[in-house]
């Protein structure tokens, strides 16, 4: 009996190793594709050059900012968005039924006057209480509506906006002044086919930020945000660029993305009642375009930078990661017909195949390995090579991939300020794989459990605010 259990455990261990090797083969493929893509597109042009080239022909953009209880930071965030370098944009702030003084602060600071606006009720959302326009900032519109969540608020913003493109931005994020100019580039170069573009989101903890502007880029001083810096680099500079090359980007971060309004309205806007509304929207767009046999592009470009504050405590980070996992599973479930379905082309086979391996099965396999291998090693049931192969899968390949992503960043973008910072991040690439990634896998299992229990909680997301940076 004991022998049978051991044999079964060994075979399970082998399965864990081979699934791990398969996952990392995909990641290495991402790294190669991302490297090719970045080498092909070359280094980004300076802002002045972009300005010269586009200033006369850029399409109007509506910047949508959903806000809930943001009275402490909203004025600074809005001021920074109003000052962004773009010749033709309006900012629409959606006050999603805040229970604090967000609306009062806005009324006072921006001299808001109630107005009316002809808008389409195409995407569903909670009722709008009032629409305001600033007397001295002609490009600012404030929508006050009944609370309904982020997706609901964004839908209201999409309905009220009139520009052909809209950009969704989190109220607590900071955009680089030229972020819109850079993100609009694919819409300028391929206006007929491009329907959505995502840009890089980076960790702002530690940087010097004043009045909604990043004055000096610095690395976070605390370990947890530092580890997330490496994680974000891997996610944005490797995975998404690689998928962009194959037109299979499945997620554009809710913190910063540019979309064609008519394409989003075609799919009914954001889906309400989901925690992963950003991924869900992009998958819906893919599905709609493929089912209607339309030629389209969803792009990710590495350069535009949106700065966001990363969680600094384990509990907040755990809540965030659990929620992300739930969002991914919800989207996968809702569109499971696309998974590995050749009818949906590369999106179905590669994109959804990757979600299946990495996000659906991945955490379970990781958790099995984390429990199984220490037991097998302690009981002396596996060989030295068996154990080392597991360590390679658990941490070794991950280190190489993380360092590879950082190398890509340095080769193409060079946004890490100093050589010493690069060296520190290299160390973090190694450290990240010795406990942090495994912890993440356990949080993702928690996400699985919450998903199966149909939990709808968003968890608490405590932010310290940029002014303390």
């Amino acid at each position: 009996m004991m022998d049978t259990v051991l044999l079964a455990a060994k075979y399970t261990g082998l399965m864990v190793i081979f699934i791990g090797v398969f996952q990392y083969s995909i990641y290495f493929l991402h790294l190669v594709l991302a490297g090719l893509q970045m080498a092909r597109s070359g280094r980004a042009a300076r802002t002045e050059a972009l300005w010269r080239r586009y200033s006369e022909t850029v399409p109007p953009i509506a910047v949508l900012v959903p806000a809930y209880n943001e009275e402490m930071t909203i004025v600074e965030s809005l001021s920074s968005l109003m000052a962004i370098q773009y010749p033709n944009h309006e900012v629409i702030l959606i006050n999603d039924g805040s229970s604090d003084g967000t609306l009062e602060v806005l009324k006072r600071e921006f001299d808001l006057a109630e107005t009316s606006r002809l808008y389409s009720p195409q995407a569903p959302h909670q009722p709008i209480r009032a629409i305001y326009r600033s007397r001295h900032q002609k490009r600012l519109i404030v929508i006050d509506k009944v609370n309904g969540g982020k997706a609901d608020a964004l839908n209201a913003g999409i309905n009220v906006s009139r520009a052909p493109l809209f950009c969704c931005v989190d109220a607590d994020s900071v955009l680089e002044p030229d972020a819109l100019l850079r993100t609009v580039k694919p819409f300028m170069e391929d206006p007929e086919r491009t329907i959505a573009v995502g840009g890089t989101v980076r960790i702002a903890n530690g940087s010097v930020i004043r009045k909604g502007q990043v004055l000096e880029v610095r690395l976070p001083r605390k370990l947890l945000p530092l580890l997330q810096t490496v994680e974000y680099l891997r996610a944005f500079l490797m995975t998404r660029i690689a998928w962009s090359r194959l037109n299979t980007v499945l997620i554009i971060s809710g913190a910063f993305g540019l979309f064609r309004r008519d394409a989003v309205l075609d799919v009914g806007g954001y889906t309400l009642g989901t925690v992963g509304e950003d991924m869900e929207l992009v998958v819906k767009l893919h599905r709609n375009m493929i089912e209607n046999k339309r030629d389209y592009r969803i792009r990710f470009i590495p350069e535009p930078v949106c700065w966001t504050e990363a969680p600094e405590t384990l509990s907040v980070l755990r809540n965030q990661r659990t929620r992300w996992q739930r969002g991914t599973l919800e989207t996968f479930d809702r569109h499971s017909v696309m998974a590995l379905n050749p009818r949906y082309g590369l999106v179905g086979v590669l994109g959804f195949g990757n979600v299946l391996i990495t996000d659906v099965i991945g955490p379970i396999v990781d958790a099995i390995g984390l429990v199984l291998f220490p037991v097998l090693a302690l009981t002396g049931s596996i060989s030295y090579d068996f154990f080392l192969a597991y360590i390679a899968v658990m941490s070794g390949f991950g280190m190489a991939i993380s360092v590879g992503s950082l190398a890509l960043e340095e080769a193409q973008l060079r946004r890490v300020p100093k050589a010493s910072d690069l060296a520190l991040l290299t160390v973090m690439c190694v450290v990240e794989n010795l406990g942090y990634r495994q912890l993440n896998s356990l949080w993702r299992i928690r996400g699985w459990v919450q998903y199966l229990r149909k939990s709808e909680s968003w968890g608490v997301m405590t932010r310290t605010g940029f002014t303390s940076s």
Partner: protein, 353 residues
């Protein structure tokens, strides 16, 4: 060898390789930081040299340090500098740089291995018209594999009034699935300055719908009323994309007799054509079709309702009256809602002023 051994050994090798790669990049960064200081100094020197040439009172200043002007940074610094000087000063700067053969150096940079240097050189050369520039840019367009560079080259050719051939521009539009917005701007200039070539291309029997639509849109910028017949004829085309493009062209052309054919499109089967027709009438300020436009306040397509409300809002008293009538209309909820919101917006805008 056991496959488990291969797995951990491969991982080990990859870790070592990636760390070596990263260590090299860190060292390179240290070197680059030094180079950055050098380039910043060089930029400063070029800027100062340009200022010296521009404000030299004798007008005979000769560039002594030729090596400075061969730098890859010259076009970029020139573009930044030229953005700060206007009119006569700008002309003087360009003339003096030409006399010192700086434009020759920039033309040579069109063969530079770095794309952004070629790009800056292309843009800068737009200030140095003439046969040598046209030839160099033509040659770059021919050999470049980058669509971005080819389009930038075409823009430069248009700016120096050495217009690219219509078939070349159309080939680029086809390659780029309808083309970039910059390319459409090039085509509009061709319609203005090379109308005969554009019309000849439009007469080809084998052109695609994408090409036809782009050409019709561009015809609107030709400022030649003779093209109205072609645009009007295209309004009968079977493809909605082409009908919408023809409407855009007519709106740009602003022919006083274009209103009746445009107004006929208010009853088109395709919503994008109906919306385009309302937009065209609004842009051309044709108020004679207010009743037909008001009827579209209850159109099934939101975009048509929106355009109709916008058009009526801009029509003054006539439009406002029609909006008020529609807002009060019983039994037509869509028109009533659209008109009410448009009126409320109009009043709010007036109150804000």
């Amino acid at each position: 060898m056991n496959y488990l051994v291969i797995i951990w050994q491969v991982a080990f090798v990859l870790i070592v390789l990636s760390l070596v790669w990263m260590a090299t990049l860190v060292l390179l960064r240290i070197v680059r930081t030094q180079k950055k200081v050098y380039f910043s100094h060089l930029r400063q020197k070029i800027t100062e040299a340009m200022a010296a040439i521009l404000w030299d009172e004798t007008g005979q200043a000769v560039i002594e340090d030729r090596s400075l002007w061969k730098s890859q940074m010259v076009p970029e610094v020139f573009l930044d500098f030229v953005a700060l000087v206007r009119g006569e000063e700008r002309d003087r700067l360009v003339r003096r740089l030409e006399r010192n053969r700086v434009d020759d150096d920039m033309r040579r940079l069109l063969r530079h291995p770095r794309k952004f240097v070629r790009f800056a050189a292309l843009e800068a050369l737009a200030y140095f018209p003439g046969l040598p520039t046209a030839k160099s840019v033509d040659s770059l367009i021919e050999r470049s594999l980058s669509p971005e560079l080819r389009v930038a080259g075409m823009r430069t050719l248009v700016e120096i009034k050495s217009y690219p051939a219509v078939p070349d521009v159309m080939a680029e539009i086809t390659k780029l699935n309808g083309g970039s917005r910059s390319l459409h701007a090039v085509l509009s200039k061709l319609a203005l300055h090379r109308l005969r070539d554009v019309l000849a291309y439009l007469d080809r029997p084998d052109i695609t719908d994408i090409e036809r639509a782009a050409l019709l849109r561009a015809l609107g910028s030709s400022a030649d009323y003779a093209v109205m017949d072609r645009l009007t004829y295209a309004l009968e085309h079977g493809s909605a994309m082409i009908r919408a493009a023809a409407l855009e062209g007519l709106a740009r052309l602003e022919h006083p007799e274009a209103a009746p054919p445009i107004a006929r499109c208010l009853k088109d089967n395709d919503w994008s054509v109906r919306a385009g027709a309302v937009r065209a009438l609004r842009e051309m300020s044709f108020d004679g079709y207010a009743d037909d436009i008001a009827a579209l306040l209850s159109d099934p397509a939101w975009m048509v309702q929106f355009e109709a409300a916008q058009a009526l809002s801009q029509m003054g008293a006539t439009g406002r009256n029609l909006l008020e009538v529609s807002a009060r209309a019983i039994g037509n909820e869509t028109a009533s809602r659209t008109a009410s919101l448009a009126l409320a917006e109009l009043s709010a805008a007036e109150a804000l002023q």
